[in-house]
């Protein structure tokens, strides 16, 4: 039985009818067309569905839509301000940290929590912060470089 709920996503409140088992990922992609958040394993193992809830990086595939009522959600679409890319987005481009791109949005959303709490992270802190995000292309080095670059550019 669907229920009517309201969810705040990227600063905008949406009223939606969701089924009790619907994940936040499902609602973002299938109901709202916010397809920057990717669906990979859909079981909380790959990280490409990462979004921020209350500023914390979480897997949207294992988050029930019903559970995020009253909690602000930020997706990759919400981090660009007035057409200006987030420092992490720009750094991923500049460092060449994107290959196929499927993991990129989730990795940026995980890195975003890190830079908000640790503005000048060392390499081990960066690697720990993205340990929940799998990339099959880059070997991670350029992703780590990009996060370092974003931190330096934001300093």
């Amino acid at each position: 039985m669907k229920q009517l709920i309201s969810i705040e996503i990227n600063g905008e409140v949406h009223e939606l009818a969701v089924a009790p088992q619907d994940s936040l990922l499902h609602v973002l992609r299938e109901e709202l067309g916010l397809i920057g958040t990717k669906k990979g394993c859909d079981t909380g193992g790959c990280g490409c569905c990462t979004v921020q809830i209350d500023g914390r990086a979480v897997y949207s595939c294992m988050t029930y839509a019903m559970s995020v009522q009253g909690k602000p959600v930020v997706t990759i679409e919400g981090i660009t301000e007035n057409g200006q890319l987030d420092p992490l987005q720009q750094a991923f481009i500049d460092a060449g940290a994107v290959q196929c791109g499927y993991c990129t949005c989730g990795t940026i959303m995980a890195a975003r929590e890190l830079l908000a709490t640790v503005p000048d992270p060392d390499e081990s802190q960066i690697r720990h912060a993205i340990a929940g995000n799998l990339c099959r292309c880059t070997g991670y080095q350029k992703i780590v470089d990009a996060i370092k670059l974003a931190a330096a550019n934001s300093a």
């Binding site: 089924a19 994940s23 909380g44 914390r56 929940g132 995000n133």
Partner: protein
């Protein structure tokens, strides 16, 4: 997409309402805390007969309160909340906990709850092993009021706990450790995100002469259907002066208490061999903490 189809998703505002819902729906209902584990089961259609979730986030059980008696951890406290408690990060006696909390990726730390991690009764989780070594009790609320259950009596089987049908977990209590205590936890896993093949934790209190006054040795990760303490290892360790040869002997002693499972992660023989290795490593790590290292 979830393979489990739900009829309803409740967000009750009080413990009384939770108990009422449990009474009304019986085995059709499942308590939802962070949802990281429940989601995994639902996605694989491993929740037969469950079609109602009771999300307990509105009960205000997310606080972690440090008092003179110890630490009271609300069931809905996230693993990240627990990891941020300064006493857990800094007190050698609770070192096993901070070790265990270094394992999960950030997204799980931000989602999984302390209560869910215990109530799941999953033998492959890390926190139960660390809690067993440190010594913890579980607080519950149910149709006949609240009660406190020693964590050792809580796990009854694979994914089974001693909660009554109309009862749910509200928190975990840790007693303040004796002076001169240290603990450590180690985990063997196939990759950064995986469940444990074997994990082990040791908590010990050493007197001024350097002898071990009290010890608790716990193992998990499929060394049995439940995480458990090794009485044989504890007996061997207690009363002994710590020597360089002792950790290997204590590691061997756990063999008397384990009956490892075989699955796609590891054979029973491998788990058995690793249980001794990991116990030895956990003990060496606890000893190093005791003597001032970290």
């Amino acid at each position: 997409m979830s393979l489990t189809t739900l009829e309803n998703y409740f967000l009750p505002g009080s413990g009384g309402e939770v108990v009422q819902l449990l009474q009304e729906y019986g085995e059709r209902a499942m308590i939802l805390a962070g949802g990281s584990f429940v989601h995994g089961l639902a996605a694989r259609n491993l929740l037969p007969g469950v079609d109602v979730f009771i999300d307990i986030q509105k009960l205000g059980l997310a606080d972690i309160v440090a008092g003179s008696g110890g630490l009271e951890i609300g069931a809905m406290a996230r693993l990240a909340d627990l990891a941020s408690v300064s006493e857990i990060r800094e007190d050698a006696a609770w070192g096993a906990l901070s070790d265990a909390l270094r394992c999960p990726p950030v997204q799980i730390m931000n989602t999984a709850t302390v209560g869910g991690n215990i109530a799941a009764a999953c033998p492959y989780f890390d926190l139960p092993t660390a809690f067993l070594a440190i010594g913890a009790s579980v607080r519950t609320e149910g149709s006949s009021g609240s009660r406190e259950i020693d964590l050792e009596d809580f796990f009854t089987g694979l994914f089974e706990n001693s909660l009554a049908q109309e009862e749910f977990l509200t928190g975990v209590a840790l007693s303040r450790p004796e002076p001169g205590s240290a603990s450590a936890f180690v985990k063997l896993e196939t990759n950064a995100n995986d469940l444990a093949i074997v994990n082990a934790a040791v908590h010990m209190t050493v007197d001024e002469s350097g002898a071990c006054q009290a010890a608790r040795v716990a193992l998990g990760g499929g060394v049995n259907e439940i995480p458990l303490r090794s009485a044989a290892a504890e007996k061997l360790l207690t009363g002994q002066v710590i020597t360089d040869e002792l950790p290997a002997k204590v590691g061997q002693a756990v063999q008397a208490d384990i009956s490892p499972m075989a699955d796609h992660r590891a054979s029973a023989e491998y788990r058995s061999a690793m249980a001794s290795v990991l116990t030895e490593r956990a003990l060496r790590s606890a000893i190093a903490r005791m003597t001032g290292g970290n």
